[in-house]
Amino acid sequence: MANLLEILKKKEVVLLLVIAFLALLSGGAWAMYQTQIPPEQPIQFPHNIHVGLQIQCLYCHPGAQRQASAGLPTQQKCWACHGQLRKYSDPAAPVALNLWPTELQKLAGYVERNEPIPWVPVYQVPDHVHFNHRPHIAAGFACETCHGDMSKKTVATVGETVNMGWCINCHLENSVEDPLKRTKLIDCATCHY
Amino acid sequence: MTTQEKNLLLAVFEDIDPAAHAVDSLRALGVADAQVTVISGTPITEAMMGRKPQWSNVARFALGGAAAGMGLGIFLAFGTPSLYPVYVGGQPLIPVPPTIVVLFETTMLVMLISTFLGVFLDSRFPNFTPMEYVPEISDGRIALLIECAPELEKKVEAAMQTQGAESIRRAQAEVV
């Protein structure tokens, strides 16, 4: 058998090893990237325009102030405005659908078919984490603390790395003065059950 | 190691006695003890060769490692519970008996690791550069690696011959 160290001196072998290593590395990186890119949404919903029109977050996501889930608006709610807007210029002759922006055409399509819009969740907590919006809103946190400045985004993207350390750090920062509160905020059972 | 100015001689002896006498004669020739290295395949003590004992820092490494291990243990036992306090089984946050177990294990672990590393750090190996050596040493021969001024070389060579050296060679680089 040839000298083990000698094998490594051959250029082809080294090249092959480097290629294999790089392939592994880039594969891993690709997988990581896949988990980080914002998912494809059925409608490229422009948050920035809606926030720019001074529509409150809680108008469309009212669940945030009373329950765990913030909720998504029904298309009834979407259409309540957009259906009116369509008739705005001339109620007798509403704008033809095909003259509308593509995204609104999509919305109209869903409304017409009475089909729910298959939104893909952006902020996902795993099954074993029980997140509740209500106490966070009740404690006076603004939506953008976690969700980022929506006036600068079209479709929602993950603004913060949502992991346990991120949750806990915020919980700790907000309970420095109150040991009782901290007990609750770093208690395992608060989120995991 | 600088070998440019000094000549190196490697005298190989079959047994301990001639080698020990050779050391004496070298001393007589004015070769300093520090310039002679005894190489053997079996551990032979300095006393056998009539030389001063070697100094070793391994024990110090061990001691230092023990202290570091204790530190690691203290961090684990006292530090981590206060980093994130979790209460279990009605026990205190930092209970004493388990702490002792943890301290013991980490102390021993780091102590032994540093002893191990100490051997290498102290004797400056691993060393994969060519060195003066002959494979017969591991067959039981005893070699004296003599570092001497060029003018002494002949005398040393003769003295070694007298003491019954099996072979004397100008040390050449042996890949070991």
């Binding site: 988990t35 329950q67 909720g71 298959p118 795993p126 099954d127 | -």
Partner: protein, 718 residues
């Protein structure tokens, strides 16, 4: 689909999407889960918040009120309806598991035609299905409906349909009513009290309950209500005393302070003996009803001792509010009717009629003048005869599985062959459905409208209402709607809801209700909201037993099982499984529940006294062949420490040959062992069946929750 349903269209929220979010844990895959919001927000609903609907449990005929928690259009959890007079917020195990019936993977998913006995279904559309039913109704004389004990609204509707088209009245049947011997109880009530009623026994206020095989904590009449009554009896200032007499220690007997293992069939003798002893000690003279009994002979025949009789009589003397319960096992005997009369007479003798802790007439349920009991075995037998005679051309079956529940000895299976068309409305591919030509699946109870009359268990007159809590999961259709469509102009209703509204309209004006409303629409809303309608106050009336004490009652010693020879005979004691009852076998969580007495799961077993087993050389888990004159089954033995040595017992509920993957080919059906013999009231006299036990040499381990070693000691593990 009717208009009433489209009103609830909003509930159609993509089950798949919502379920997927729950199912997938962490990991990149879950990022691509979609969430589909409502297209229109339902009334009073917020996205992501649970909605609760009141409805009625259909796992048995009792009619307990349920509150169903639904979430994103899925039913999540069944809870008791706090306002309901029957269960007052509580539920039994079967009620809890009802969701596993609805979301069962083996339901019939579409209307289908199929060859009898063949499990492959050919899908058809509902119009064709209605046409089939329509065709059947065009031959009213040859049409026979066979309905289950739930739900009552369908029975009322079918009765209307039959009257409208001129078909014979529908028959109702349920295995539980067979085991409770309801016909016998009703007949005895008629004979003693003059009214064929399902009586109400107020054990809550009794201080002594002596029960002859009444398993009222398990399945008897209305188990949740009676359990509540039991708890109240125990919790009182003076803790009520409870004595159970039956051949094996049942779950109910386990709660008794005293249990007396008496030989099946000797109940009448014991009742008479007690009556005689009590009367002699209290009044000095025994009434005519009980004077015939010979105490020593009664003791001999029942397997009890005279001291035990004395003890029971002493209890009766000391008790202030005693009540005696007639259990099904005591009545389903050759002399069952006499036994029932004796028990009611003893109650009369104890002077507890219409008093707290005594016996009452259940008030007539709303929308009913009197109690219509399910058919007895004799009446089913008559139907079988008509079928064999070729008088039935179309049999329409709903809510009952007679091929499984009825004794094979009645010959229904053969008779079905004579029926040209069998139509099943089963939600589940049960034995009867597979023997039918068509299956037109009804909705599951939780997807259905309807009502159920509360027949017993509550002093109030109560009607329990059902409403769909979710949109039907499969392509099923309410049988009521099918019938209304098929009957065409014969009925004045457009759909089921209209029919129901026309019925409850009578209650809008009814006094003493839990709520009142000005008009039908508001009443209907409240009816849905509260899950029914009931009176605030009890209207149970006192029975009168004039002259009953003077009617002589005679009993014979039960035929003793042969104890000699190689082929030893045993009395077979069959009881409905407390967990599975008649229709629970298809629900996986009910199968997984340990039986309260044996802790066996997922199977049937034969209970045998360890002494007997030792004597026969039988060990636990040995498979034995149980042979009766009518048939035989093979079943594993459970050495049960609390059963008479001359009695063996098998629970009823398993042994399905169809009915979904969780029920199929699991355990044995003891109904195969029953003979077709009936008692004087027409109820099946299954209590007198004698069986032989044969070893097969096989072993089939029973799955137990208990550790055999821990409960029965070392050396018991094999």
């Amino acid at each position: 689909m009717t208009d009433s349903f489209t009103r609830r269209d909003f509930l159609k929220v993509m089950g798949a999407g919502a379920a997927a979010t729950v199912l997938t844990g962490c990991g990149p895959a879950s990022r691509y889960v979609t969430r589909e919001p409502y297209t229109k927000m339902p009334e009073y609903t917020y996205n992501g918040q649970s909605t609760y609907y009141a409805t009625t449990c259909r796992e048995c005929a009792a009619g307990c009120g349920l509150i169903l928690r639904t979430h994103q259009g899925r039913a999540i959890k069944a809870e008791g309806n706090k306002f309901h007079p029957l269960n007052q917020g509580k539920t039994c195990a079967r009620g809890q598991a009802t969701l596993h019936g609805m979301y069962n993977p083996d339901r019939v998913q579409f209307p289908a035609q199929h060859a009898r006995g063949d499990a492959t279904l050919t899908e058809m559309d509902w119009d064709a299905a209605i046409a089939v039913v329509q065709k059947a109704l065009q031959d009213p004389q040859g049409t026979q409906f066979l309905l289950g004990t739930a739900s009552d609204h369908l029975f009322d509707l079918v009765t209307d349909v039959c009257q409208a088209v001129g078909a014979p009245s529908p028959l109702r049947f349920g295995a539980l009513s067979m085991f409770e011997a309801r016909a016998t109880l009703g007949e005895a009530s008629r004979a003693v009290f003059g009214k064929p009623d399902l009586l109400f026994f107020d054990i809550a206020n009794a201080d002594l309950v002596i029960s002859f095989g009444a398993n009222f904590l398990e399945t008897w009449l209305s188990p949740v209500a009676y359990t509540r009554g039991y708890a109240q009896m125990r919790r009182g200032d003076v803790r009520g005393h409870f004595v159970q007499l039956e051949p094996r220690l049942s779950e109910t007997a386990a709660k008794a302070d005293e249990w007396y293992p008496l030989l099946p069939g000797a109940e009448g003798l014991v009742v008479s003996a007690l009556g005689k002893l009590f009367a002699e000690q209290k009044f000095g003279v025994a009434p005519a009803a009980f004077e015939m009994v010979d105490l020593a002979a009664a003791a001999e025949a029942s397997g009890l001792t005279l001291e035990q009789f004395e003890r029971l009589a002493a209890l009766l003397l000391r008790a202030e509010r005693p009540v005696i319960l007639p259990g099904g096992a005591a009545l389903a005997q050759a002399e069952g009717l006499e036994t029932a009369k004796a028990i009611l007479t003893l109650n009369a003798l104890l002077d507890n009629l219409g008093k707290a802790g005594g016996v009452f007439h259940t008030p007539a349920a709303p929308l009913a003048d009197s109690y219509h009991r399910p058919a007895s075995a004799a009446e089913i037998s008559a139907l079988v005869k008509r079928m064999n005679a070729g008088e039935v051309n179309t049999l329409l079956v709903h809510g009952v599985n007679p091929l499984f529940e009825l004794p094979a000895a009645l010959g229904l299976e053969a008779a079905l062959q004579k029926v040209k068309t069998v139509i099943s409305f089963a939600t589940f591919p049960d034995e009867t459905a597979l023997a039918a030509d068509y299956i037109f699946p009804d909705h599951h109870g939780l997807e259905s409208w309807g009502y159920q009359r509360v027949q017993t268990g509550a002093g109030q007159s109560a009607l329990s209402g059902s409403q769909p809590v979710v949109v039907p999961y499969y392509n099923t259709r309410a049988t009521a709607d099918v019938l209304i469509a098929a009957a065409g102009d014969a009925l004045p209703f457009k759909d089921e809801v209209e029919f129901l509204q026309s019925k409850v309209a009578a209650l809008v004006e009814a006094p003493g209700g839990f709520y009142s409303a000005a008009d039908l629409p508001s009443f209907w809303a409240l009816f849905q909201q509260y899950g029914g309608w009931w009176q605030n106050d009890s209207s149970a009336s006192a029975p009168s037993a004039a002259g009953a004490l003077e009617k002589k009652l005679t009993f014979h010693a039960p035929e003793a099982a042969h104890a000699e020879g190689e082929h030893e005979e045993f009395s077979l004691y069959v009881y409905p499984s407390p967990i599975l009852a008649e229709a629970g076998a298809n629900k996986p969580w009910l199968q997984e529940i340990a039986d309260p007495t044996t802790t066996v799961m997922w199977n049937s077993w034969l209970e045998m006294n360890p002494e007997t087993a030792h004597h026969l050389g039988i060990e636990d888990d040995d498979v034995v062949r149980v042979i009766s004159p009518a048939g035989e089954v093979e079943v594993s033995v459970y050495r049960y420490p609390a059963i008479r040595p001359d009695v063996v017992a098998i629970p009823f509920g398993q042994g399905h040959t169809a009915y979904g993957r969780y029920a199929e080919n699991r355990g044995v059906n003891p109904a195969l062992l029953f003979s077709a013999e009936t008692n004087a009231a027409g109820d099946l006299a299954f209590g007198g069946v004698k069986v032989k036990i044969e070893k097969t040499g096989k072993k089939r381990p029973l799955s137990r929750l208990e550790s055999k070693m821990g409960v029965y000691g070392f050396g018991e593990e094999h």
